[in-house]
């Protein structure tokens, strides 16, 4: 049952999206109104292409039409397509960050902008990060200059269950609905360890310990299972449905496989416990975030088909981050688990490629040679998988969204820069033509407005 649920997750998500408000159905509140920028048919010629499927193709062309990848191959031609000489360039799928707080903790980081943590109760599954997203955060444009085409915006980690996350396409919008990734399932943020116990324990409130944390999750899931069962029974004509409850609706959405769990969890022992809780209540952890000790349990992550989202080298800023090592993602990958490099930072998100490169170099020191065509998956395909959008984005395959980055060379260099970024086939950023680039409202009149994202 548990295994089947894992396999079906992605499918179920799309089938049942209507119920959870993530469909494009205008009748559903906060549904995606993403329209995409104007795109033309574009043919990139002669690049080194990292497909995201594990392949590296030399002297290869990429054809994008109507917002989709049409073909990746040699000597392509297309009538009416704008042909761009990409020889000497490297082409990859758009970078995807599974862990961002852009918009909910925007720049400037004033107290009045602090909208990421609903620190009023340890379980706030009823709140949705998208309702805090400020679309004019200048960090979206700078992330775009780093090749980021999609990202998940999450609530913070003060709470055991912090609320729903939202996946966005990195295009400017007047509101969050304009930016929402069409058809993407919601995420739900959970947090292990120090943060919840500190925030609530310091108020003399539960949880004040890690064991208090675990009791809190389980109590929430018991209530959610009961709500789900009563709702299901009512649909079968057995009894009245309970009154709609936003908190339990989100939690039941997880139990039904419609919402994906993204669990902030540093320590290997705590991640192991969280996997047992998931088994107890019949859900899957899509990804552990800030998984600083994931390298200690790569096998367990592989077994449960749970991704680990990691930094390259953040460590030591708190006790649960003390055992961080640079080789973390490489060892997780070697164990057969899904490795992701994430940012949690408006600065870090601009160079996820470089963070991956640091891991590659560190791994090579101990004989783990990870080629670029493999490492690129840490910031493209694998985050797409954890977000439940792997079928439509994250690799350069025919029929997928044409989210594409043209780099000035290998992306795994400190000198790497994204030169062009395409989102759904539209040129969203061009380092060589500032007139293309978005200027957030907030940036008007500053240096960032002269020459695009600085």
């Amino acid at each position: 049952m548990y295994k089947i649920l894992v396999v079906l997750t992605t499918v179920v998500v799309f089938l049942s999206a209507c119920e959870q408000g993530s469909s494009d159905d205008a009748a559903v509140p906060f549904a995606s109104r993403y329209a995409g920028l104007d795109s033309t048919s574009t043919l990139l010629k002669g690049a080194t292409v990292l497909t995201g499927t594990g392949e590296r193709l030399e002297n290869t062309d990429v054809l994008m039409t109507d917002g989709k990848i049409v073909e990746v191959g040699a000597d392509l031609s297309a009538v009416g397509a704008e042909v761009i000489d990409a020889s000497g360039k490297w082409v990859t799928p758009g970078v995807i960050d599974v862990h961002s707080h852009l918009g909910v903790y925007p720049s400037p980081g004033t107290e009045s902008h602090s909208d990421g943590n609903e620190v009023t109760a340890p379980v706030t599954a009823q709140v949705w990060a998208e309702h805090s997203v400020w679309p004019h955060d200048p960090g979206f444009a700078t992330a775009l200059a780093g090749g980021v085409t999609s990202m998940q915006i999450l609530p913070g980690s003060a709470n055991l269950i912090g609320g729903r996350g939202v996946t966005l396409k990195n295009v400017p919008g007047r509101n969050v609905m304009d930016m929402k990734f069409p058809g993407a399932p919601h995420g739900m943020k959970m947090a292990c360890g120090e943060n919840p116990k500190r925030v609530y324990g310091s108020r003399g409130q539960a949880p004040g310990t890690r064991m208090g944390n675990v009791a809190g999750y389980r109590e929430a899931w018991i209530a959610a299972a009961d709500y789900r069962d009563k709702m299901a029974a009512a649909e079968d004509g057995k009894g009245e449905p309970p009154m709609r409850d936003l908190k339990l609706e989100t939690l039941a959405g997880v139990l039904n496989g419609e919402i994906l769990v993204h669990n902030h969890c540093y320590r290997a022992d705590e991640m192991s416990i969280m996997l047992d809780i998931a088994k107890e209540f019949g859900y899957t952890v899509s990804a552990f975030h800030h998984a600083v000790e994931a390298y200690k349990i790569g096998d367990l992550l592989a077994e449960s088909d749970t991704c680990a989202a990691m930094w390259a080298d953040w460590w030591g800023f708190k006790m649960e981050a003390y055992d961080g090592i640079r080789e973390n993602a490489a060892i997780v990958d070697k164990a057969g688990a899904c490795a992701i490099i994430h940012s949690d930072s408006g600065i870090g998100i601009q160079r996820l490629n470089q963070e991956a490169a640091k891991v590659m170099g560190a791994a090579a020191r101990v004989g783990m040679d990870i080629p670029p065509e493999h490492a690129i998956q840490w910031i493209t395909k694998n985050p797409a998988k954890s977000l439940g959008v792997e079928d439509v984005v994250g690799t350069l395959e025919a029929g997928k969204m044409a989210d594409v980055v043209v780099w000035n060379g290998t992306p795994f260099s400190v000198y790497a820069q994204a030169e062009q970024v395409y989102i759904d086939g539209a040129l969203a950023y061009d380092r060589n033509d500032p007139s293309v680039n978005p200027i957030p409202d907030f940036s008007l009149g500053t240096s960032a407005a002269t020459g695009g994202a600085q």
């Binding site: 720049s107 400037p108 980081g109 004033t110 200048p138 960090g139 700078t142 120090e194 500190r198 390298y295 200690k296 790569g298 096998d299 080298d313 953040w314 460590w315 030591g316 800023f317 708190k318 006790m319 981050a321 003390y322 055992d323 961080g324 090592i325 640079r326 080789e327 060892i331 070697k334 164990a335 408006g346 600065i347 601009q350 160079r351 470089q354 490169a357 640091k358 590659m360 170099g361 560190a362 090579a364 020191r365 101990v366 795994f412 260099s413 400190v414 000198y415 790497a416 820069q417 907030f442 940036s443 500053t446 240096s447 960032a448 994202a453 600085q454």
Partner: protein, 431 residues
């Protein structure tokens, strides 16, 4: 023991006539000194010092020879501000000795006595090339009783990351002050009050300099600052040590330029998000800037014009630069990445290397001993497999004061324990 970790290099023990002589041969040596970059070069280390550098030079008889053909050799890296050795885990896990609260010590608060050369952070960073650092005080905010840190954080010191007892290279090498938004919480809530506080301290220090004897005899009015603070400020007033100002906004930097001129003090900016807007003025005033080459977001209203071009613009105007991201705590090792990012944004490569080696040494008055590969300087040397700024290149060997560093850290031990993913023994029974 000293050479065990050199396995990656081919080492030839010719003889042990001069046990303390090591020659690194056949390397590309970026001296960061007047001789620039030397190909097929030899660096000779003796008794902890560099005694000779040259191209096509033979290793002295009896020297331990390290064949570095195809390798890059640079000076040891120098991080210009941070709390290395002052904190293990910063948050809810023991003290951070870089800061203190209250007004008993302000300008004279000296972090050097708290430095722990055995900190786990030292080995983690030195095996990635960091050999020297400025350890600096920083404000910590407010305690439960409402006591605050001070506008003056105190004195910073230059340390080396070696194993020797003599880890403090220069005590009190700089003084740290918090201007602009970084200081308002400690001066009643206004940046104008911050400047008044700084001026008051400097004025009292001048008065104490001129009337100290009378003050000690009780024949002069009291001061707001302690004698210890006023004594510490003398070295700033005399220009013997620089005043590092944590400041970002251009208008506050203009105030700093005026202040430095008025009191004849030497200033260094740390942060400096908008410093690039005043580049020619900073060059004229001989004010250096420690900046984060990644800082391009308007994180507050002091940083509205933060720009990735900062390093390039400042260097082009002749401003001395170094790289940090505010107070660096755990990852001083990432200065090579920052240097590379600055290079990608237009800073010449040689200037980027200088910013992480010689420039900070000059800022803190230790360039006679470190910062470049020149005869007579301490032998802080890093051997790289390729471009030191490139992310996939890690040092193969690091020397600090001529000692070959064991290339092991708590992180490398953790890695080695978990590297074999098929090992099913409990981890505590592994390596």
């Amino acid at each position: 023991m000293k050479h065990l970790s050199l396995a990656l290099l081919s080492i030839v023990f010719v003889s042990v006539v001069h046990a303390e002589t090591t020659a690194i041969v056949d390397a590309t040596v970026h001296t960061v000194g007047p001789r620039g970059t030397l190909e097929n070069a030899t660096v000779v280390i003796e008794n902890g010092q560099i005694v000779a550098v040259g191209d096509n030079m033979k290793a002295p008889d009896g020297a331990t020879v390290i064949d570095a053909s195809g390798k890059i050799v640079t000076p040891g890296l120098f991080t210009p501000i941070g709390s290395l050795g002052l904190v293990e885990v910063g948050f809810s896990a023991g003290p951070d000795d870089s800061g203190q609260i209250g007004d008993q010590f302000t300008a004279s608060f000296d972090v050097a006595d708290a430095f722990n050369r055995r900190s786990t952070l030292i080995a983690i960073n030195r095996i990635e090339g960091v050999t020297r650092a400025l350890i600096a005080p920083s404000p910590v905010g407010m305690d439960d009783n409402g006591n605050l840190s001070s506008v003056f954080s105190g004195l910073a010191s230059v340390v080396n990351l070696g194993d020797g007892m003599a880890s403090i290279d220069r005590r009190g090498a700089a003084m740290v002050v918090n201007l602009g938004e970084s200081g308002v919480d400690y001066a009643g809530g206004s940046r104008a009050a911050v400047l008044m506080t700084v001026r008051q301290a400097l004025d009292e220090a001048k008065d104490y300099r001129d009337h100290g004897d009378a003050h000690e005899r009780g024949q002069h009015s009291d001061y707001n600052y302690s004698v210890a603070d006023l004594e510490a400020l003398q070295r700033v007033l005399s220009g013997a040590v620089p005043l590092i100002a944590n400041v970002d906004r251009a208008s506050d930097i203009e105030e700093l330029i005026s202040l430095a001129h008025e009191y004849g003090i030497r200033a260094i900016i740390s942060g400096g998000a908008e410093a690039w807007m005043l580049a020619p003025h900073l060059a004229a005033a001989n004010i250096s800037v420690i900046l984060a080459p990644t800082a391009n977001l308007p994180s507050n209203f002091d940083s509205l014009n933060a720009s990735l071009k900062s390093a390039q613009i400042l260097a082009e105007e002749g401003v001395k630069i170094a790289f940090a991201d505010g107070q660096i705590t755990h990852n001083p090792r990432n200065i090579t990445q920052w240097a590379g990012i600055a290079t990608a944004e237009g800073l010449p490569w040689d200037d980027a290397l200088r910013a992480i080696t010689l420039s900070p040494a000059e800022m803190y008055g230790v360039a006679d001993r470190v910062g470049s590969i020149e005869a007579g300087k301490d032998a802080d040397i890093v051997i790289w497999p390729g471009d030191p700024l490139e992310l996939t290149n890690y040092p193969e060997q690091v020397f600090i004061k001529g000692e070959s560093v064991e290339m092991v850290s708590r992180q490398s031990l953790l890695r080695d324990r978990y590297l074999d993913t098929d090992d099913k023994r409990p981890p505590a029974y592994r390596n």
